[in-house]
Amino acid sequence: MGFARFGKISYVSETKLQDFEKSLEAGKIMGTKCKKCGRLYFPPRVDCGCMKGEIEWVELGGDCRLKTFTTLHFAPASFRYEAPYTLGVAQFEEGPTVLAPLSKEIREDEIKIGMSLRLVPVELMGGRMIYELRLPESR
């Protein structure tokens, strides 16, 4: 439980953001929003930078545009069986950004800065939860 199942491997298990993992399981990408100043956070955080706020969970639509990307052919030791894989930074329609893997279903020559993508929750074998960037038409 908690946060230990988030990511392909996980370094942090204890956080106030435990509900994030549960939402992913329910197929939702959740950010947080400050009730005081209205600032929207993704990745979510429980403490608003305005220092006066109270945070609530809000669901993000998932639609985003690719800002930049790279395909890794050389991976850290624990990712050696994954390579090659592509990581990208995408900006949600709502404003915040996310760093996430691109689905292996997207061909490398299709990937272009500015393309529309959708961030989708994915359950991996062994019960790990991640999200990945897919073409908008594939859900």
């Binding site: 990511g7 790279t70 050389f74 930074v89 760093l99």
Partner: protein
């Protein structure tokens, strides 16, 4: 203001060093610096031991290194700002002296990386990204800088050939620096044909993992006036930070804000601008980083960095020679040693002792030392 001078510099050979442990590598650099400064070790009043400590089995390495160098009972501690550790060490040393607390301080930067495999090193380094939201997807240092490269190419038309030219230049100058790791010239073709690490970066777009140490002896104005033939003055210091996460940053991904800020501070303090700099040592951990640095430091307009190197304006004899000791790409990047090594190169240049790569009449030198994914930046300006 009490002025601070660099009165001694030393560096070990940068290479894979299966022949030596961290204390022994540090000793090589330290001995050279003490001899260069013409002081005795007893005159050193404090030591700052700079490294990214997570590569070492030795916890808190300042302990064993200060002992091995013979620097007890003087104060010593570790300074850690990943790749910018010794650039930050210089700032702390400066404050020790400027404040009147100490008169002579040793800054010792070191790193031994190659006891780990490259994949293990990247596992460690991947954790210099946010371990909650980024490292769990398999990030690496080359990948982070590749994200900037891709964006810079898209926005400004920077080409892989222009990036390759940075590697060609730095490998060329490394052949003139006996302390550099790589001693052979390479061609643009070699770079373009080398294997992809994180697209668009290929192996020769990356610095290699390396072992080595560099040491600086800093001294107050009074001491320097008494003992140094050619003191080189620390004229400007800048230190700044940027958010660690890419999602916390400005989304243009074509510039490092911490460089822009640190440079502004250092230029102001030194009373100079980019056009006054006679040569620079910049943090070329990857070819794209050197191009971004040209722009962030004001050596050219935003987007023109690729062109600057393509036209050989950063070669010796160009508008502003950059990394003519081989840079991180070819001299090697034992991360904790890099900032001090950059300053060693500048000091030799400003003293007129740089041999084959001497910049004529060099009076102002700039060192730019970046930590992590463009997260910490130390800029140091030296003057004769």
């Amino acid at each position: 203001m009490r002025n601070v001078a660099v009165i001694g510099v030393g560096q070990s050979k940068f290479a894979r060093r299966p022949d030596a442990s961290i204390r022994e590598i540090a000793f090589e650099a330290f001995k050279e610096a003490v001899e260069d400064a013409q002081i005795t070790r007893e005159e050193i009043q404090a030591s700052l031991v700079c490294s990214a400590t997570h590569y070492d089995k030795q916890r808190t390495p300042a302990g064993i290194i200060a002992e091995y160098l013979g620097l007890n009972p003087q104060p010593t501690f570790n300074v850690e700002a990943v790749c910018a550790s010794s650039g930050v060490g210089v700032r702390i040393g400066w404050s020790f002296i400027n404040s009147g607390l100490h008169d002579i301080v040793a800054v010792v930067g070191f790193q031994k990386m190659t006891e780990l495999s490259s994949a293990e090193v990247q596992e460690v380094m991947g954790r210099s990204g946010d371990v909650m939201w980024e490292s769990p997807f398999g990030t690496t240092m080359p990948a982070y800088f590749a994200l900037y490269a891709q964006s810079h190419m898209q926005k400004h038309g920077t080409t892989q050939e222009q990036m390759a030219k940075v590697a060609v230049k730095n490998h060329f100058y490394a052949t003139k620096n006996p302390k550099a790791m790589f001693q052979e010239e390479i061609t643009i073709e070699d770079v373009l044909k080398s294997r992809i690490i994180a697209s668009p970066l290929k192996r020769y777009d990356c610095c290699a993992n390396s072992d080595g140490a560099a040491c600086l002896i800093l001294a107050s104005e009074d001491v320097a006036a008494k003992i140094a033939d050619k003191p080189v003055w620390v004229a400007g210091l800048g230190l700044a930070s940027s958010p660690m996460t890419l999602t916390g940053r400005d989304t243009s991904y074509d510039s490092f804000d911490c460089t822009v800020e640190a440079a502004k501070q250092a230029y102001r303090m030194a009373g100079v601008g980019p056009d006054d700099v006679d040569l620079a040592e910049v943090h070329d951990c990857f070819t794209i980083t050197e191009i971004l640095n040209y722009e962030d430091l004001g050596f050219c307009e935003r987007g023109q960095g690729g062109k600057l190197v393509e036209e050989e304006q950063t070669y010796l004899g160009g508008k502003i020679p950059v990394n003519i000791d081989g840079g991180l790409l070819a001299k090697g990047h034992p991360v904790g040693a890099t900032g001090a090594s950059q300053i060693r190169t500048l000091v030799k240049q400003l003293r007129g002792e740089a041999g084959a790569t001497q910049v004529e009449e060099a009076k102002v030198g700039l060192a730019h030392n970046l930590g992590g994914i463009g997260m910490y930046c130390a800029v140091t300006i030296l003057k004769t």
